[in-house]
């Protein structure tokens, strides 16, 4: 069954400040204390229907292949780049990792991840003048892992295995400078995905 790829498709429908066009009588408005909001609204059932609708898989922006190693095992995998979205304070990268064959393959502990953390901070987004890496963050002060530095990542942890369907992955990276229309995406062991269009 084809699946709706709603993932990470941020609606981002933040309203700009605007004058009120709400002409309903005051009694029909919220009787509770006003909840200031700039977010758009939608009927709940419509949102349920949209988000949980039967799947339609949009085409990936780029598909590249490569080999990861788990121990001594070299495994062909495929990476689909699904979205590179430039926001004011960050860049969102969404991608999918899948087996290049019909077989499920091991990915956890592979060469694609950072040793010890299994996250995918090795992913890179390249603009014309910069190389962006995912944000990382440190553990709690004084905690067991305090001395280990930034053990955690604003990016996906590798799954244990992937099949032909593929696991959805993400990374939050610093914002781009300028307004590039295309970027390259790099992953350890994987052929570069060049010329990936950027959405805003």
């Amino acid at each position: 069954m084809r699946r709706v790829l709603v993932a990470g498709l941020v609606l981002g429908l933040a309203l700009t400040a605007c004058s009120s066009d709400d002409t309903r009588p005051r009694a029909e408005r919220s009787s509770a204390a006003p909840t200031p909001t700039a977010s758009p609204e939608a009927p709940a059932q419509d949102l349920v229907d949209q988000l949980l609708a039967p799947d339609v898989q949009p085409d990936p922006l780029a598909t590249v292949t490569g080999t990861i190693t788990v121990g001594q095992q070299a495994t062909p995998v495929t990476v689909d780049v699904l979205e590179v979205r430039a926001a004011e304070t960050s860049t969102l990268l969404r991608w999918r990792l899948r087996s290049s064959t019909a077989q499920r393959v091991d990915t956890f502990g592979s060469s694609m991840s950072r040793p010890g953390s299994q996250d995918t901070r090795g992913i890179r987004v390249l603009t014309a003048d910069a190389v962006l890496q995912p944000y990382t963050y440190e553990g709690p002060e004084g905690g067991v892992f305090a001395a280990a530095g930034d053990l955690f990542c604003a990016c996906s942890v590798l799954p244990t295995q992937v099949g032909a369907e593929g696991v959805l992955m993400y990374a939050v990276l610093p914002p781009m400078t300028g307004e590039p229309s295309m970027v390259d995406v790099l992953l350890p062991g994987i052929a570069p995905a060049a010329g990936v269009p950027v959405t805003r």
Partner: protein, 352 residues
Amino acid sequence: MVRDLRKRGAVGLALLAVLWSPVAAVGQSPAPGPSGGEVPVVGTFSYNSGNNDAEPEIRGAVHGVRRVPGGTAVYYSLGVAPGETFDAVRTMPTAGLAEAYTAGDAFAVRVLDPRGLQLYLPLNGPQGCLCSMVYDFGQESGRLAIGWAVLPELPAKVQTVSVLIGYGSVEDVPVEEGPLLPEVQTTPLLLGGGWPALPMDQISAVSDQRLFVRTLVRRTADRKSTVTTSETAGKVDEALSADVLFAVGSATLSPAARSTLQQVAERLRARAAGPVTVVGHTDSTGDSAANQALSEARARAVRDALQDGAGAGVTFQASGKGETQPVADEATPDGRQANRRVTVTYAVKPGS
């Protein structure tokens, strides 16, 4: 700013854009009803249940990141398509050793402030996580169950954040004021049925909210990887590639080094607060003592060049660490190249 959803090419989003009513003004909200009412949406997400493509896709939306007394509330909903098997326990990662949470906590809700370089996690107090439990989501498919978490208070200047939720993320989320209303006491709470009543009394019982704030690290490099910059709140570390700055085995700056160091000096002049630390590093090729001497000489060379460019208002300390502090695998050429570097570290002026 309204984005053109139709460019995204995903089924249903164009319809959602049409359904969105532009008449809601800042400061007012359409009357939400107990069922079928309108709900705010600031972003959607999806990820594989259990981070496993053999399991259904979890889909959901973030409905608000909102300042409440003593904290920040994150509201979201999630579910799976009709007919799929919904295992609520698999909707979120399980708490690991580094986490203060317990099994069943829907703790994987984090707010990332890219400008302030801070990451916020759900508060955990005497009565446990100030967040939903995964069991609250129920066991049925074809519906969206509401989840929530209360995180530390965000600084007043924070206006836009990213939300890391489960195994996914949502970008560009505005920070708004006040809890979502009406509040109801229902489990599972489904989208359109109101919003969870937040445990306001438990917020004040959290002894130290700083325990739930993490330092975020931002890393960028120029395209040639001449300079890799790591920045946290208040501190910058610039790693300069020794291969660009120097010839092999030499501590004499190359012609190519001058422009790079001039740019670094300009940043120091603009942002550095207090002394700047310059440290030379080598790979482990060759004699250790020679590497130590080389790293010290290189650090002095970089310091002198930066001092010229940054001016008398910036002070420096220079030293060498030889091959003792590698940052990459010495067994590979790329790793050795990364280890051959000079680092420039400084505190930054507030607001710079």
